[in-house]
Amino acid sequence: MTARDPVPDEPLRDCEPLADEKGSPYARPLPSIIGSTVVMKGDLIVGEDLVIEGTFDGTITGKGPDTVTVRRTAQLRGEVSASNVRVEDGTNLENTVLSGRIGRTDR
């Protein structure tokens, strides 16, 4: 895995610092985090990194080269479409359709 790999194996929720390789704090927005107690039902479009720990029923569409990360605690039902989809080991994806570059993570 190179430093430019679009699916890096990095800490998910410990998101500080977020500066890019050049050290600019403006280069990369904060990831959206759908926490473990959050329940969402509907359609979602995102143009930044997204971490899902909670429950989502519907469609998730990623716009751009960012990564949608599905944590083990997530309960998904529907469709996730993004350039990069990273799924934590042990995640239940029984009722979920994933499309994009699918990766696996153990953290």
Binding site: G35, T37, D43, E48, L50
Partner: protein, 156 residues
């Protein structure tokens, strides 16, 4: 070492320009709806929530704090313990404890709360109902009135 610390501090300042965010906010359990995120549907949560993107539908937030950031756009009724608005809200706001409108806030809807704080410059169109304030413990409110009636009778 020092440069890393500086990066962290500057990042928090950038992330929430209008919101009094500190590193503690990022470390504690908080969900973030980022600035590019658009969601249409039903949302419920039992943890603090920061909305910097667009939400349309319903928000059922239980007993926690909800912040609509400066870039946040919400078309929904909001229920939460503490509600802080720095962006735009179209819908009713129910704040169990307090509702705060920052100077950058633009709210169209009714506000139901026990306490309200509105900064100079905040835009608000709607009604404020503070009838949800908790009754102070102690003697019932009817007692002083009854005593007053007795005094009137004895005087008459």
């Amino acid at each position: 070492m020092f440069s890393k610390k500086k990066e962290e501090e500057s990042d928090y300042e950038r992330t929430e320009p209008g919101v009094p965010t500190s590193p503690d906010v990022r470390r504690r359990k908080t969900s973030v709806i980022g600035p590019t995120l658009k969601f249409k549907g039903e949302l419920s949560a039992n943890e603090d929530l920061i909305i910097e993107g667009e939400i349309e539908g319903t928000i059922a937030h239980q007993d926690k704090n909800l912040t609509v950031g400066k870039e946040g756009r919400v078309k929904a009724n909001i229920n939460a313990r503490t509600v802080e608005i720095y962006g735009r809200v179209d819908g009713d706001i129910h704040g169990e404890d307090v509702v705060k409108l920052a100077k950058s806030a633009d709210v169209k809807g009714n506000i139901f709360c026990a306490r309200i704080m509105m900064e100079d410059g905040a835009r608000f169109s709607g009604n404020i109902d503070m009838g949800q304030t908790k009754k102070a413990p102690g003697k019932p409110t009817s007692l002083p009135i009854a005593e007053s009636a007795k005094q009137i009778e004895s005087a008459g």
